[in-house]
């Protein structure tokens, strides 16, 4: 299992293709925070997002923040939420906007594997709940759109050494979650037989 450093947004898809399920990744550059209501607005209500998502890294988050007098926000506690609730947005995020990476916790079910392979996307697993550490890796909240959805706005963060992340689903059709579930389901049969 290799270790990589990747800067987002990416322009060369080779950056995605070199990643394999299980690899460790540290991210630099800019990442975009997004959540349930943000994606419901984009795809179910048909509102164009006011940020460029091409080559982007999306983080499933609803940050805890403090609003400053100049209207900017500073991080209080920024962590990551469960991804599975938002799996249905994977295909359109890649196909319509060119998103290349989605990062969250808990993984995506198998329906994400095919579109991620076809559209050359990856899913990064972060450690859910490790928000104190994650907050120290966010250098600045550079932009916030759709503030009325607080805290489920569209956020642009500049990050430094964001991670360590694990490649949960790669762009080659491999999913750690699929492998773990398959093995655990088989193991259950063995455990039940012992009861």
């Amino acid at each position: 299992m290799a270790t990589h450093e990747v800067t987002f947004p990416i322009t060369d898809e080779a950056e995605i293709l070199k990643l394999r399920a299980g690899d460790e990744v540290v991210v630099q550059g800019h990442i975009i925070g997004i959540r349930d209501r943000t994606q419901i607005r984009i795809f179910d209500q048909g509102v164009e997002p006011p940020m460029d998502l091409k080559g982007a890294f999306l983080l499933h988050t609803a940050p805890g923040v403090r609003k400053l007098e100049d209207g900017k926000y500073e991080p209080v506690c920024i962590g990551t939420t469960t991804s599975a609730r938002m799996v249905r947005f994977t295909e359109p995020l890649g196909a319509q906007f060119g998103v290349r990476a989605i990062c969250g916790k808990g993984g995506f079910p198998d329906e994400a594997i095919e579109p991620m392979q076809r559209l050359r996307m990856v899913y990064f697993a972060i450690v859910g709940g490790a928000a104190a550490l994650e907050t120290t890796q966010i250098e600045e909240i550079e932009e916030v759109a759709w503030e009325e959805l607080m805290p489920e706005c569209l956020w642009k963060f500049r990050v430094k050494d964001f991670g360590p992340l694990t490649v949960g689903i790669d762009a080659h059709g491999n999913s750690l979650y699929h492998d773990v579930q398959t093995a655990a389901t088989k193991k259950l049969e063995e455990l039940f037989a012992r009861l």
Binding site: T61, T81, T82, K105, G128, A132, T136, L176, A184, L195
Partner: protein
């Protein structure tokens, strides 16, 4: 930490405001020990990476005075009220609600509370029937114990209930708990505490499962039949291979706790309530004179 206040309602409100933030920042020692122990025995590469990050995160939260996890949860309180405690439970509830609001606004904490249909925010982690308070009344006592368990949604979404029948027996309970945790996979932020409620009724079984996750890690049920089942399930759950954050590994759960109640002869309910690795809880003991004594380990 101890203090005496003359206004008993104010003392409970102040205690609640402190308790909520404190629970979010300073996780109990038994949990810290369990996480380090898990880190030591995990052999999978992604699993070990997860546990290294978790242990580092707890240290960063200490160093920076920050919350361990951003999900400030739903504030759930368990109150044990002595029959001679000089504040009526109606006023205790008001004080807990006011304390929750103050903590949320003053820190500030993320406010998670929404109307269940409109999804609009209802206030600073309060709303209709929020926070949630469970009550127990104690005879021949003049004190009040409040335990705060801020529970995140990632783990609360992984709650399961099955009305097993008597013919399913204890085997049915075991199969349901094991299947539930495999189905949950990485979503509830494993390795955590699996709370199981058995017996009673459908609603009471889930309440008992929630009680079970709020116990200090590895404590055992007073009934030896139930304690034996806790040990057995703990071993079996760690054989599933789900591992830290569902990425595969040796440590799927930190422990399994069971609370039980006697039940109807035709009922065999089993409820599972998962608690994530950031198993936050904190308690305060309030005396009849308004004195407060905070307790991280209860």
């Amino acid at each position: 930490m101890s203090a005496v206040a003359t206004d008993i309602r104010q003392a409970v409100e102040d205690a609640a405001a402190h308790l909520y933030v404190w629970a979010l920042k300073d996780i109990p020692q038994d949990l810290r020990d369990a996480l380090v122990e898990a880190q030591g025995r995990e052999t999978s590469v992604p699993g070990r990476r997860v546990l290294d990050t978790i242990v580092k995160n707890v240290q960063v939260a200490d160093d920076q005075g920050n919350l361990v996890c951003q999900d400030t949860g739903i504030a759930v309180y368990t109150c044990r009220v002595g029959e001679h405690f000089p504040l009526h439970p109606v006023k205790i509830y008001e004080a807990l609600k006011a304390g929750t609001e103050r903590a949320t606004l003053e820190h500030p904490l993320r406010s998670n509370a929404v109307h269940t249909i409109t999804r609009e925010n209802t206030g600073p982690n309060t709303g209709y029937r929020l926070p949630i308070v469970h009550w127990e009344f104690i005879a021949d006592w003049d004190g009040l114990d409040v335990k705060c368990v801020p529970k995140g949604s990632g783990s609360e979404n992984m709650s399961f209930l099955k009305m097993c029948v008597p013919a399913d027996g204890v085997r049915g309970i075991k199969e349901f708990v094991l299947s539930s945790i495999v189905d949950a996979g990485g979503k509830p932020c494993p390795p955590g505490i699996v709370g199981v409620g058995i017996g009673g009724s459908a609603d009471y079984a889930m309440y008992l499962a929630k009680e079970a996750i709020a116990r200090p890690i590895g404590t055992r049920n007073h009934d030896p039949h139930v304690a034996k089942l806790e040990e057995e399930l703990y071993e079996l759950l760690n054989e599933t291979g789900i591992g830290p954050m569902g990425l595969g590994g040796d440590v799927t759960v930190l422990n399994c706790h069971i609370e039980h109640a006697d039940t109807h002869m035709t009922l065999n309910p089993v409820a599972v309530n998962y608690q994530c690795w950031a198993a936050r809880r904190a308690s305060v003991h309030v005396g009849p004179d308004g004195s407060v004594d905070f307790d991280r380990e209860a």
